[in-house]
Symmetry: C2
Subunit: 613 residues, 2 copies
């Protein structure tokens, strides 16, 4: 199969706006730990990533989907072209980007890293999973590994000589991580013998790298039940000799290569560890039973990455639909509908098509703003470097709070945008002649993996809202409140800022009401409304950030000559804000009402009344 | 490829409830033109159809998807097993069901036909398209053909010896039917020479029948532009000799076989007519330029059929997810979440899973109620036989009004239910080990073909609302009003009936406001809100019909012993009604508010402000 054409579309002006104009990454550049980075360096790396996406990864996206992975003699073969692209990706150093300089990384800000990720993932989601999993595993080793482990694994993983995975899920332990049945038994040499079966392992096996470093969650013999008794192990596919060279294979075998709805170029494997009693691993770090905390480091990054995946596919899906809407002629203007001889117009002229396009545009930009805001908080915490505990706690708290929103809202909205994009084409969208159907298929997994969106919602209502005594939430609401106060009489956006205020109040009241539920013994209601609350809070966030962007854009436009090309761009930002504020923000108070109604129907319906079969 | 296992799941008790208990098809049975039909006959045919679906069509659904159709030497080959199933389908007489007795049909009520269609389509949507298109084409010939045409085509099409298609869409005439560029030139022998290209033709070519009778929309030389100048032609794939036997091929060729997201077992073709100047057709009936009216007969039935497709896939997708939720153990009860040793429970015990299940259940039952109500109106009009003009007009008016709701709400909701169903499985739903992903793929086309859902929405707000001076709408609203009046103090459903009243008022006021827009010169706003209005009206309808069903079920349950198996079934109906009334009906007044806000952002955003690329 030959490489195809690049279908990836991205509006770099938009990415630059989020990074430099709205979230002001310039304010952290040049300061430790980002000393080496200036605005030009950021712009250069964005340009390089976009080019790499367009020239190398994009052309492999459709062919990778059609060809898929295959299992040959127990080894996964990736689609044609992936191996060469893997080599180029690492030669370009893209995966060194935000590792610290101490370990050979480039020490870039997270906001930049998230932007680069959007570009690479948008060009080829399946391919990017191999690199993303490797990076995730390397980050865990970097954060928790012994000095010796850093030396043994890190550079090889950062440069793509070795790949990496995260092996958490088991046949009977998916959302219920604590039910993990994989076992580890300590050997006299300090190593552990690992046995167990892991399922749905992304990049679980492949031919891109010389070795694959699996991070495997398992329970050491005698450890307590549940999540507390779990440890994380480094389990290479091929054993590593003391001198760092590769030895014999490590009794890790691919049981199944999954056939899936989408991300067909990504190998999703069932892996068997220690079927022949010869699988050896080493503990991450030197303390047992730290698996859950270590896993969460990995999971949090992975959850943010899923939000970026959603953003990336929604964005290219939108822009492809926009291209089609500009080119495709069909029907005459609504004003001439009675005249059979009226000239045909591009479908972008039709109100319903414009409605779909503006809705997608607003949601894509909202997702991007939420993600770059998260990265900007990470970067500000890093720059503070512990110098101001209160401010650091604020930034870290906002990261914690935003993570489930980025993952769940980002993934649900991505699928919704991809659905709308497909509809924009009419019949053509249903065919494989356009990329819309692949984007739709690829994006469906985002709401499921790295913790289903309900797990995210429970993380939000059950953990994040109450974190630090509720301080993170209060600060978030106060930030929205300050924005409302400053802009409620804004000449262009005043009415919409009032919608924002109503949404903020609804979110605040609903969060408060959950405390009342706790006191009234009604906590069992929480899981049945958690997804809706997450949606409310994400919509509040997106509405806020889009209005903020709109106001920034309006002010910037005023400084430009009438012919400046940015004028149109800024006008587009204004309409994104108006659209979302008018169409989506008013749904937030209603959602609060629905939660307040304490509908128990789903809890009360008897399981055997759901069908007679 | 061997036939697979049947994955189709259906709750026959539910179908019987809709037919006999809610829409009382019994009241038309035994009366002309349904003289030959009693309740037992209906129940028997339902049972037979369900068995045929489970034994013959269901096992071909997954294999048909995987294998797809292929083009060999210009001829489409259908997946293995389709040809044998086609033969059995017609031997069983399923396609004779609602053709009148005069032409050799069985004269069954439409409500029964729609129920049987649900069963056959649910078992295998792709396969059913070949039969559905044939039936649609045969119905047009039956309604508009000359006596000679009836004799030549009808029996052969009803018995599957010949297939049929509807060839409307062209490369530059999709939603814009009037732009049709296919041409017909009358020959001296009364036949017409046809030239043109038709795209996205379902069942456009196949190997199931000896011949295929295409109904082709084309413009006779010299006819006016737009829809008024169109005529419909019978164009057989293979020419038919005067004695009815097959002659030479008719210059109709398959240009492309589409590769699609779903319904892979259904051949979607680009057809070229008359490339060699040798394509002959005959006019449907004997009067030229009637194509649009004839096409609408076909389209209306096809649109209802798309609603049934949506229902069928949503229903089996829901029931498969329910099966999985009953069997799959994961996590412990929310009440024991802190206890790592608490027993694992089936996921149906988790609130979020129950929420998804009850939401799907309610929507599936609501779609079914709307469809069977439509069929019941058709049957009541048929029984009146013109004896009561006013009542007949009422029933026909409700059919007209419900048709776009059935098509658009049925298709959008189907895709939404299929998405929720997939999510219920977690990671397993994304794999091809379960049917959820195929249902999702297959169902996406429903919002597009037979007129996109926006075309349906424009049909509703631009045509149906004002039909008969608005009488159909007023009668619809009055029917809801009578229900509200009768049940607003119902002990079990009173609060929910009040939600219904609020939704009814919102729909009524919004419809009225459209008249105001007309007077104020704001009609250009209509297309941008049409989809939302359709959704409101469909949700009002579904809320009403579910509450009606709930009240019927509650009354029926009271007459049963505590152990009667129907008790649980009726309780399930109650919860469907409560769920939808509490969760969905309250969104209707908000949608009215959003429409009333006259948001012009999508109309005003400059096309070149939608992206800088």
């Amino acid at each position: 199969m030959k490489a195809g054409v690049n279908r990836y579309r991205v509006d770099l002006r938009e990415l630059q706006f989020a990074l430099f104009e709205q979230f002001k990454v310039g304010e952290v550049l040049g300061k430790a730990p980002f000393d080496a980075w200036g605005e030009q360096e950021c712009r250069d790396i964005i340009k390089q990533s976009a080019r790499f996406g367009a020239e190398v990864l994009g052309p492999l996206n459709e062919t990778g989907d059609r060809q898929g992975c295959r299992l040959e003699s127990g080894q996964v073969k990736t689609p044609d072209g992936f191996k060469a692209a893997w080599k180029q990706l690492h030669e370009n150093g893209f995966k060194l980007l935000d590792f610290p300089a101490e370990v050979g990384g480039q020490g870039a800000p997270k906001a930049l890293r998230l932007t680069v990720d959007e570009l690479l993932i948008g060009a080829n989601t399946s391919f990017s999973l191999y690199a993303g999993l490797t990076q995730g595993a390397a980050e865990v080793i970097e954060a928790f590994g012994t000095k010796e482990q850093l030396g043994r694994y890190l550079e090889k993983m950062m440069t793509g000589v070795w790949g990496g995975t995260m092996c958490l899920t088991e046949p009977n332990a998916g959302s219920d991580v604590g039910a993990c049945a994989s076992k580890a038994v300590k050997n006299s040499d300090g190593s552990y013998s690992i046995t167990g079966t892991k399922v749905f392992i992304s990049a679980g096996d492949h031919d891109l790298s010389e070795n694959i470093i699996h991070l495997v969650l398992a329970r050491i013999q005698g450890a307590p039940a549940g999540t507390k008794g779990l440890s994380l192990f480094i389990v290479p596919k091929i054993k590593i000799k003391p001198d760092g060279s590769l030895g014999e294979s490590n009794d890790v075998s691919v049981g199944t290569l999954e056939h899936k709805l989408g991300i067909n170029g990504s190998a999703t494997c069932l892996l068997n560890f220690g079927e022949n009693g010869n699988c050896r691993g080493e503990l991450v770090g030197s303390v047992e039973h730290q698996g859950m905390a270590q896993m969460f480091k990995m999971m949090n990054n992975a959850r943010i990455a899923v939000g970026v995946q959603g953003l990336a596919l929604a964005s290219t899906s939108y822009l492809n639909a926009l291209d089609y809407a500009r080119e495709r002629k069909q029907g005459s203007s609504f004003k001439n509908w009675k005249d059979a001889n009226a000239p045909r117009v591009a479908i972008i002229e039709h109100a319903d098509v414009r409605r779909m396009l503006l809705d997608m545009k607003a949601k894509v930009e909202g997702m991007r703003a939420m993600i770059i805001k998260l990265g900007a908080h990470q970067d500000r915490a890093a720059v503070l470097g512990g110098s101001d505990e209160e401010k650091t706690a604020y930034h870290r708290g906002q990261v914690d709070l935003l993570t489930p929103l980025v993952k769940a809202y980002g993934s649900d909205t991505a699928f919704q945008v991809c659905t709308t994009a497909l509809q924009t084409y009419g019949g053509a969208g249903f065919t494989k002649d356009y990329p819309a159907e692949q984007y739709l298929r690829d994006s469906k997994i985002f709401s499921i993996y790295e913790g289903t969106n309900h797990i995210q919602a429970m993380d939000l209502v059950g953990r994040k809202l109450g974190q630090a005594g509720g301080a993170h939430l209060m600060q978030f609401l106060a930030d929205v409140g300050s924005f409302v106060e400053a802009n409620k009489d804004h000449p262009a956006f005043g009415a919409e800022v009032k919608q924002l205020a109503a949404a903020q109040e609804a979110v605040a009241n609903t969060a408060m009401s959950f405390m009342g539920w706790g006191e009234a013994g009604k906590l069992e209601l929480l899981p049945s409304v958690a997804n809706r609350f997450l949606e409310m809070m994400a919509e509040l966030t997106v509405g806020w950030l889009l209005l903020d962007a709109g106001i920034i854009a309006e002010a910037a436009a005023k400084k430009l000559s009438a012919e400046h090309p940015d004028r149109k761009f800024y006008e587009g930002k204004k309409f994104s804000a108006l659209w979302f504020a008018r169409e989506v923000l008013p749904t937030v108070p209603l959602k609060a009402q629905l939660i307040a109604s304490e509908n128990r129907a789903a809890l009360e319906v008897p399981a055997d009344a759901l069908a007679t079969i």
